[in-house]
């Protein structure tokens, strides 16, 4: 019972001083955390068992050679050793951790196809057709500026030169064109989103 309240640093000191029971207490205290940590990475019971064992063999050797000097941080130190051994394991087997397709996790959540599917293609086409129809309803001067700006990608300076009006007039026509479009869209409750 007295061992339960002893901090890790004291147990480590006792172990280095020759008290073998201190190691038993340390293992007992931290085994599930370390074991769980290793298992969460390798996902294999046998490998976990091996790495757990190797971790503590390193711990024992380091403590017995009296090379340990991180008093008070026993668990993070052991975790780091096990982490390094896990890295070694993956390096040795050249195996990357992989995700199995389970009920709550689909591998397709990792692999996505960013190209639009047939549904979104159809929707996009419909949106474009609707929008073109709306644009054709605009007054000529506004439609001209909007088409030049959005479809032909011309600057307002170029539009002004081509249509023979000032830049401000072109900007104003564009503004009214957009306002009129919004008005018609709102009035007719048209949904123009993909």
């Amino acid at each position: 019972m007295a061992n339960v309240v002893l901090p890790d640093a004291v147990l480590v000191k006792n172990y280095v001083g020759g008290d073998e029971n201190a190691l038993a207490t340390l293992i007992e205290r931290h085994q599930s955390k370390i074991y769980g940590f290793i298992y969460s990475k390798v996902m294999d019971r046998d490998v976990t068992e091996d790495i757990f064992q190797d971790t503590f063999i390193k711990v024992i050797k380091t403590l017995k050679t009296k090379n340990y000097n991180e008093e008070g941080k026993f668990l993070p130190w052991v975790m780091r050793i096990s982490h390094n051994l896990i890295v070694d394991y993956f390096r040795k087997t050249k195996k990357m951790p992989f995700n199995r397709d389970t009920e709550e996790f689909s591998v397709f959540s990792l692999m996505t196809d960013n190209s639009p599917n047939i549904e979104s293609k159809i929707i996009t086409e419909q949106v474009e057709v609707d929008l073109q129809r709306l644009i054709s309803e605009l007054p000529d001067d506004q439609r001209e500026v909007l088409v030049m700006r959005i479809y032909d990608d011309l600057s307002f300076k170029e539009i002004a030169d081509l249509t023979g009006v000032s830049i401000n007039t072109a900007l104003g026509r564009m503004r009214y064109a957009l306002m009129n479009l919004r008005k018609v869209i709102e009035k007719n409750q048209i949904i123009l989103t993909n």
Partner: protein, 47 residues
């Protein structure tokens, strides 16, 4: 057949190594003695 929507737990929350592993480590620790002589380190395992 009805589909079960209850979530499967991936791992037991309390995982611990086998008794044999822990016993091996404790026995290994008891058997191992390390002697340092200058820069040299000698590992002895008493069987």
């Amino acid at each position: 057949m009805a589909k079960l929507y209850s979530k499967k737990k991936k791992a037991n929350p309390k995982m611990s190594p086998k008794k044999e592993t822990v016993n091996f480590l404790l026995n290994y620790s008891k058997a191992l003695s390390i002697t340092k002589v200058g820069d040299l380190t000698f590992e002895n395992i008493a069987n």
